[in-house]
């Protein structure tokens, strides 16, 4: 990887600006995940509102990054590592933007949940799952800064754990709903939240894959580790006992 500066210093300034923005965006998205899950657990409506309002800043950065990347491609015809940098950032920014949206959705639902019956233990589990996704995102961004492909691969592997946490929650919610139909509304919302967090994990995995592309020039072959089995294996079976 090439650390030296371009002969045209304006090229470096353009790249540095895009770099700074994607990292700033990453920081905002991390904070958004932390805050939305905290708001959910502590039923903090003010914090949830802050997350919802904060999404505009994330979207604005996404737009700015896309504009700057388009300009850089048009004006500087980047090649090799420069090309991989802007392509990776362009894809990373849309993944970050999506994570921001999912986090905002989590915050919205936490408001609704505040007015419903509490489901014991559920928000705690979601909080743990969210914490893992947030840690993965932090590590994926660190892998980007440090250009560390092994670190990025590690993040991709960890998505399996998030999927497994989601599977467990899926079963728990089913059980709660079977036990008492009055739990259904809350559990539906909680399930959407869990699914959203699971999706966030997928977006983080995609970011880690872009880090690999940026550093090595190759996209990982084969399919990602997938442990979310709810769409295929877990058919609704009222007789089944949760394990």
């Amino acid at each position: 990887m090439n650390d030296s500066r371009h002969i045209a210093s304006a090229f470096d300034r353009d790249l540095d600006s895009i770099h700074a923005k994607i990292l700033k965006m990453g920081g905002l998205v991390e904070a958004s995940i932390v805050d939305s899950s905290k708001a959910l657990e502590s039923r903090d409506q003010e914090l949830a509102e802050k997350v919802r309002r904060g999404d505009a800043a994330i979207d604005a950065l996404d737009e700015q990054i896309n504009d700057e990347v388009a300009n850089l491609i048009a004006l500087r015809a980047p090649t090799a590592v420069d090309l991989r940098t802007v392509l990776a950032i362009m894809r990373m920014t849309s993944n970050l933007e999506r994570i921001g949206d999912l986090s905002k959705n989590l915050a919205k639902r936490s408001d609704v949940l505040g007015q419903l019956t509490q489901i014991s233990g559920a928000t705690g589990s979601i909080r743990r799952m969210t914490r893992e996704v947030e840690a993965m995102l932090k590590d994926a961004l660190d892998a980007f800064i440090q250009r560390d492909p092994d670190f990025a691969r590690d993040v991709i592997e960890r998505d399996r754990e998030v999927d497994e946490m989601y599977n467990t929650l899926f079963r728990e919610f089913l059980t709660f709903m079977l036990e008492d139909p009055r739990n259904i509304t809350a559990c539906m919302h909680l399930h959407f939240i869990a699914k959203n967090v699971e999706r966030m994990g997928d977006h983080v995995t995609a970011i880690a894959e872009q880090v690999l592309f940026y550093v090595t020039g190759e996209t990982p072959e084969g399919s990602r580790p997938k442990a979310d089995v709810t769409s295929s294996d877990m058919k609704y079976n009222p007789e089944a006992e949760p394990d």
Binding site: S4, P78, A80, E218
Partner: protein, 266 residues
Amino acid sequence: MYDAPKSLETTLDQKTAKITARDVQVHYGDNHAIKDVNVNIEANTVTAFIGPSGCGKSTFLRCINRMNDTIDICRVQGKILLDGEDINDKRVDPVQLRAKVGMVFQKPNPFPKSIYDNIAYGPRIHGLAKNKADLDEIVEKSLRRGAIWEEVKDRLHASGTGLSGGQQQRLCIARAIATEPEVLLMDEPCSALDPIATAQVEELIDELRQQYSVVIVTHSMQQAARVSQRTAFFHLGNLVEFGDTVKIFTNPEDSRTESYITGRIG
């Protein structure tokens, strides 16, 4: 992701080396200009030589048709094979060699003769035309292949030097292909041309690839990326990296290649 499409890979596999250079060294007096260059140039392929000024790319290009013979202090060692035959063998007539390995230079250099005679000169001295009708046909065919026929067909007997720069360069390309060469060497053929004439020449290069091997030296990285399938990067007389153009421009192996193509101080 950046592997060549399967069909292209297969065709590349089937292509044999048109030109093979083995351990080529060039000295200009005490100056060691080319150091141990080994390279295979494939048939029906555009190969681009890139690198900073003085890196040896033009010197190496000139080895391929023995243009360096004309420089007294220049010494070429190693083997350059064209279709398996050593071009530096004593039995090879450099004039015959240059009919097979044509060359187009940086500055358009039409002869101060008519457009017709510019093209007819080579076929005449090499005895490629039996009669006037034959020659007319060669002239028309070459001008058509040079993508300039439509512009000059009504003034074939006007002077070649009266054409615009871009037209002159296409005339020179038509002249180079009139002797039915197998390899076309181009030393910065577009550096004196405007973007439209450049695009026309680049389009022509792509068409010529159907019949010839084209080797092009260029300072324009974008041109190398646009026209070539294979790219060789020279630096300080060494061939640093040689590979598929797409690979060189997306993920080069050598940090010197990367520094050069991304415009960094290496």
